[in-house]
């Protein structure tokens, strides 16, 4: 068994809402798992089980209340993502850890082509090669050519989501977190997007993903984590 890239131990998240008089809302409790390069961990569970919150805790958008997330980076240094300082997290997000959610922050005046290509250029890849690769992927996800030079701010939801997916994938992160990435896509483009995801997985990216389509989830996952509103535990696919 390949050494674990990421090892989560007893992760818990409870929100303390001061503006609601100090109400505590438990999102999830005591979640543990291990994942290696090229492996896909699927997360399933009913709505309200804390799946999105869990992904956000891994990405540090939410601050975990307890537990640790040991991540070993490309330089073989291990960090606890739950407790690491902000600069470390920012660095890892830029270089190694990607996240696809259903919301894509759009910058009004930058074209779809540039928005995506820049993700590579800012990592040091030459501009022409980045643009080339971007065009390839835009074709694959059926984004009409006429839209390439336009800003995604004018795109439909489905189109924006495809840009979102390409943007995250093109950077070849070591670890990719996916929160319902294909739910706003029609079945044909969803299928193509899943192919891209599989290709990335083959190249060694570790993935943790939430999909409401259980069949899809099962076909992608090497392992599945079931979360429920009360308790979460790891089970096989």
């Amino acid at each position: 068994m390949t050494p674990a890239m990421i090892r989560c131990e007893g992760l818990s998240k409870t929100f303390l809402m001061h503006i609601r008089g100090g109400t505590r809302i438990e999102a999830f409790r005591d979640v543990s798992f291990q994942l290696s390069a090229g492996e896909f961990l699927g997360i399933r569970g009913p709505s309200g089980a804390g799946k999105s919150s869990f992904l956000r805790c891994l990405y540090r958008t939410y601050l975990p209340s307890a537990g640790a997330v040991w991540y070993t980076d490309s330089a073989e240094v291990t960090h606890d993502l739950a407790a690491a300082d902000e600069h470390t997290i920012l660095g890892l997000r830029r270089q190694e850890i990607g996240y696809i959610s259903q919301f894509f922050p759009v910058i009004p005046r930058v074209s779809a082509l540039d928005t995506i290509a820049n993700n590579m250029v800012f990592r040091g890849f030459p501009r022409e090669a980045s643009l080339e690769r971007t065009r390839e992927l835009l074709e694959r996800l059926s984004i009409p050519r006429r839209l390439w030079e336009m800003s995604p701010s004018t795109f439909s939801g489905g189109e924006k989501q495809r840009i979102n997916i390409i943007h995250a994938i093109i950077a070849r992160p070591r670890l990719l977190l996916l929160d319902e990435p294909t739910s706003s896509l029609d079945s044909a483009t969803a299928h193509e997007a899943v192919l891209l995801i599989r290709e990335l997985k083959e190249k060694g990216t570790a993935m943790i993903g939430v999909f409401h389509d259980t069949a899809l989830l099962s076909s992608l996952s090497d392992r599945v984590l079931t979360m429920s509103p009360a308790r979460a535990g790891e089970t096989g696919p």
Binding site: H18, R56, H87, G91, Q95, I107, R109, V110
Partner: protein
């Protein structure tokens, strides 16, 4: 232009980036002060005015680091001290207590005690500032080009052709039409005045740019253009930024990390997305959930 773009990207944006600016326990008091001032004011007391001596404690115990290439957001309501903070960093105001350390200056020693002329020199080399009100940042009685030239002249650039070239180049980069380079800013729109300020702030390629409510008071569409420009320039030139705003949208767009201020003190600091989506401090929660 764009000397920083040559630096290796990994160095620029990776965890290895050095600390550019350190602010330690900064305090700014207006008024005589008394022993009770700090105790009777601050975020817990919901006031920055001492009830006993009527001094205003505009800043209290403010500490943070800023790394090279990082964008730090400072958010808070009026009276939070956020504008005072950048004015102190920019040497527009003197601090009452605490230290400001700038990397590479005097071996990283405190610069708050330097003589005024030294501060002036330091600031013209290291910092650019964009004020909320263009009247503060621009001289409205000299041309746009001259405004940018002033910064270069402050930094002892005395070659006319070079000054002219850099000024026109920067104004072009901030999308000021060539015809307006020799016009007075007074005759131009608010959005254009802000963009001239940005050009001026970048004149000496400073490693740190301070933006104080740069888009407040501008129309929404104009705001978008200015913010875009700021973002592009930061990506291109790689300088550190401190962005002060009461507008969460601006902070979300620009800042990597954010500091939340209330009544002169910092109540919370962290990753911008974490501050906006999982705020911990009661005040931050109030602020975030009040945003439409």
């Amino acid at each position: 232009m764009g000397e920083h773009a040559d630096a290796s990207l990994a160095e620029r944006i990776g965890t290895g980036a050095g600390v550019l600016l350190s602010v330690l326990d900064l305090e700014k008091r207006y008024g005589p002060g008394c022993e009770a001032c700090l105790e009777l004011t601050g975020p817990q007391r919901s006031t920055n005015i001492c009830p006993r001596c009527r001094s205003v404690i505009a800043l209290r115990g403010v500490s943070f680091d800023l790394r090279e290439g990082e964008i730090l957001g400072i958010v808070g309501e009026s009276g939070s001290g956020k504008s005072t903070l950048v004015q102190c960093i920019y040497f527009d105001q003197d601090v009452s207590h605490g230290e400001i350390r700038v990397n590479g200056q005097n071996g990283g020693c405190d610069v708050t005690g330097l003589p005024r002329s030294e501060k002036r020199r330091l600031r013209s080399r290291l910092m650019g500032m964009v004020y909320q009100n263009p009247m503060q940042g621009l001289r409205l009685d000299i041309t746009s080009g001259a405004n940018v030239a002033e910064k270069l002249l402050e930094a002892d650039v005395f070659h006319f052709a070079r000054i002219r070239e850099r000024a026109t180049g920067l104004l072009a980069r901030t999308e000021i039409p060539a015809a307006f380079v020799d016009r007075l800013p007074r005759t131009l729109s608010g959005g254009m005045q802000q963009r001239i300020q940005i050009a001026k702030a970048l004149a000496n390629n400073p490693p740190l740019v301070l933006l104080d409510e740069v888009t407040s008071g501008l129309d929404v569409s104009v705001q978008a253009r200015v913010l875009d420009l700021v973002r592009e320039l930061q990506r291109e030139l790689g300088m550190s930024m401190i962005v002060v705003s009461h507008d969460m949208g601006v902070i979300r767009l620009l800042a990597d990390r954010t500091v939340v201020m209330k009544d002169g003190g910092i109540v919370e600091q962290g990753l911008t997305d974490q501050i906006l989506e999982d705020p911990q401090h009661p005040y931050t929660q109030l602020l975030v959930h009040s945003t439409l």
